[in-house]
């Protein structure tokens, strides 16, 4: 079913999955509540009805089991797409992801490929309970052998999920939870699709670069719109590992300033890698240090406090101003 009206990010993922399952009978979807319920965010809505219970599998409640059996299915030639219900519940599967999924290719000297996609709704800002609002991406970007990507809008959601599924490497696919219901008209032409590992300059600018991904892209766009004095460029990284260094470094070299924004704790977060890499390569061009805006170095707070913990427009602008030598 192809629509021309605006669709939500959740719906775009649903259509992307549907397309992938139609194109390739080896694609199977598995996870908790992905069948009749269609997933708690409805991303797999209706898929079981169309493709049956052997291709859309309601699994027992065990994340290690989900990823572990997905690896087995991939060894048998399938392309499993696993859903982890919420960010905070990926940790029981961490061993399978880190010691098995990410390494099978290296372990077998290329003899075995594991084209497994692990979808994880991530990020906060929806007023949810503990373990339902977190951003664990840095645990995965440090794990060699994994690809880590995230979409920020419905168009990317639609294409990137399909690209992730056809990718021969395992892909951790982060979905910006609080953007599930954002809508836009989606681009369905596969020829026009940006490659999975490429970053995108979603708003050109000249004075400073804002680096973001997933839910923070919109915040950065709003910040760029809001800033009265400076022309801010916003880069949506899209792929965190590999990082599209060419696009990122080109932008930073041009603007000579950058602010990195994510929801995860700043300490040891993905922004640390960005800042370190940018400094290593652009040290002489930079006129200010790369600054990081993100969650604090404490566990994610109860939801009544999350608006403080999460970067917002004001905190981004504050950091931008600091790269220009302090608050105005």
């Amino acid at each position: 079913m192809v629509t021309t009206e605006a669709v939500s990010l959740s719906r775009a993922l649903n259509e992307g999955l549907r397309r992938a399952m139609t194109d390739d009978p080896s694609v199977v979807v598995m996870g908790e509540d992905v069948g009749m319920l269609g997933g708690v965010f409805r991303v797999t809505d209706g898929l079981q009805k169309t493709f049956g219970a052997t291709r859309v599998i309601d699994t027992p409640l065990a994340e290690s089991g989900i990823v572990g059996t997905a690896i087995g299915l991939a060894l048998r030639g399938y392309r499993p797409v696993c859903e982890i219900q919420f960010d905070g519940f990926v940790f029981p599967a961490f061993n399978q992801i880190t010691t098995q999924l990410s390494r099978m290719r290296t372990r077998t000297r290329g003899a075995v490929e594991l084209p497994v996609v692990i979808r994880i709704p991530f990020g906060g800002g929806i007023g949810a309970a503990e373990h339902h609002g977190e951003s664990p991406e840095a645990y995965f970007t440090h794990t060699a052998g994994l690809r880590v990507v995230t979409c920020a809008d419905p168009s990317d959601a639609y294409t990137m999920i399909q690209q992730a599924i056809t990718c021969p490497d395992p892909v951790i696919f982060f979905e910006p939870k609080r953007r599930y219901w954002d809508t836009s008209v989606i681009q369905r032409d596969p020829v026009a699709a940006v490659p999975l590992e490429q970053a995108e300059i979603v708003r050109p600018g000249t004075d400073a670069t804002l680096l973001a991904y997933g839910p923070m892209v919109r915040v950065c766009l709003e910040a760029a719109d809001a800033h009265e004095d400076r022309s801010l460029e916003v880069v949506d990284l899209r792929s965190l590992n590999p990082l599209d260094e060419a696009t990122v470094l080109e932008s930073v070299r041009r603007t000579r300033r950058c602010v990195i924004v994510h929801e995860a704790s700043v300490t040891g977060g993905y922004g640390a890698e960005l800042a370190a890499r940018i400094t290593e390569t652009c040290f002489r061009t930079l006129v200010a240090p790369p600054l990081r805006v993100g969650g604090f170095s404490t566990p994610y707070p109860p939801s009544r406090l999350e608006d403080h913990y999460l970067p917002d427009l004001d905190r981004v602008l504050d950091a931008v101003d600091r790269t220009f030598g302090g608050r105005p």
Binding site: L37, L61, F89, P92, H132, P302, R315, R327
Partner: protein, 372 residues
């Protein structure tokens, strides 16, 4: 009174094979004897139980309304599981420690936890609103299964202390698939730890029916780990009390763990954000309504002359008073101070955490100064 093993459901009722379980009170309120699970309760004990059941049902109903009004972010209803929770919690001694999931409001209430603390969790005011060590019920556990290992370790601590306390871990049917729960079985069996595993099989893990988790009754899982499992009518508060009491006695006597499967039903959605009509037939829920855990106690109390209409009305009006007070207090519950973000992460000083707190306070102040 009839004697023997009751059947929980008939093949046609739920489309599965008959289920044997321990039952001491039939859906009609008739008292049944079950060998090995003798139970003598005074009239006062029975009316207390009834009071608890009615009160938590009222609180649960109120919490659902508060969630609908946006006062709570979400609510995980325990409707249907009152007997399992009140019955088992009543079996606990003061020194025992309970390890609940997010749905054990009846257990928390039984342990004397202020209901505002329970609702405050769902409001997002805090992750946990009570002192787990003082109230002897731990913080609600959200990551399925993890806390069953905590209960087991706690029970290993009891062994080392040489006291006759016990621990009880609550979890659902879905949780039985989790690695942690099975590891808890391994550790508890290896140590003969004084822990009771209380599984509320409410037939559903969100939208997934229990037969996706196991093709055999859940209580049978225990035997292969080397300890007994027993299925109890989870809608029968007396049976839940008796079965838990026996399991706790065994634990205290050094006979190790027991797995109790309380066969019950989640009458509502998984939480207020769930839509159970997407995956389960209304007829199933209706069938279970006829086995209501509160109704049968009322029938029993009335039939045995312990309670009259006046008593029943008194219980209801007192429950209403609790609810009115609760509604008021939750609506006026202040948001936590922003400093709580940094307050509890470390017991000892942490330079980065301290810097962040100061910097953020300065940042917030810069707005109040009108600079922004």
């Amino acid at each position: 009174m009839t004697v023997g093993t009751a059947r929980g459901d008939t093949p046609d009722a739920l489309g599965e094979s008959p289920t044997e379980f321990v039952q001491l009170l039939s859906p009609d309120g008739e008292r049944i004897e079950h060998p090995g699970y003798e139970l003598e309760l005074t009239a006062a004990e029975l009316t207390d139980i009834y009071r608890d059941l009615v009160t938590i049902r009222a609180m649960d109903t109120e919490a659902l309304a508060l969630a609908r009004q946006g006062e709570l972010a979400v609510w995980a209803s325990m409707h249907g599981q009152e007997a399992a929770q009140i019955g088992s919690a009543r079996a606990l001694a003061a020194g025992d420690m309970a390890f609940p999931t997010y749905r054990e409001h009846g257990v928390a209430w039984s342990r004397g936890v202020d209901p505002v603390s329970i609702l405050g969790h769902f409001r997002g005011a805090y992750h946990s609103g009570w002192d787990p060590l003082r109230s002897r019920v731990q913080a609600y556990s959200v990551v399925i299964g993890s806390h069953t290992l905590h209960a087991t370790g706690y029970a290993m601590g009891i062994q080392r202390d040489g006291t006759d306390d016990a621990a009880i871990a609550y979890f659902g049917d879905g949780a039985t698939s989790a690695g942690d729960v099975n590891e808890a079985f391994v550790f508890a069996a290896a140590h003969r730890a004084p822990v009771v595993f209380f599984c509320q099989n409410n037939q559903w893990a969100i939208s997934v029916p229990v037969d996706r988790q196991s093709t055999v009754p859940l209580h049978r899982r225990a035997e292969g780990f080397g300890f007994p499992g027993v299925r109890v009518d989870g809608n029968d508060v007396l049976a839940c009390l008796a079965v838990t009491r026996k399991a706790l006695a065994d634990a205290r006597a050094g006979r190790g763990p027991t797995l109790i499967e309380a066969f019950t039903y989640r009458m509502g959605g998984h939480t207020t954000t769930d839509d159970p009509t997407r995956y389960r037939p209304a007829a199933e829920t209706e069938e279970w309504r006829s086995r209501d855990p509160i109704e049968r106690v009322r029938r029993h109390l009335t039939a045995s002359g312990i309670a009259d209409r006046e008593f029943v009305e008194d219980v209801e009006s007192r429950a209403e008073a609790v609810v009115v007070d609760l509604r008021h207090r939750i609506r006026t519950l202040p948001d936590p101070d922003v400093a709580e973000i940094w307050e509890y992460a470390y017991a000892t000083g942490h330079p980065r955490v301290d810097t962040e707190r100061t910097e953020y306070a300065d940042y917030l102040e810069s707005f109040e100064d009108g600079q922004w």
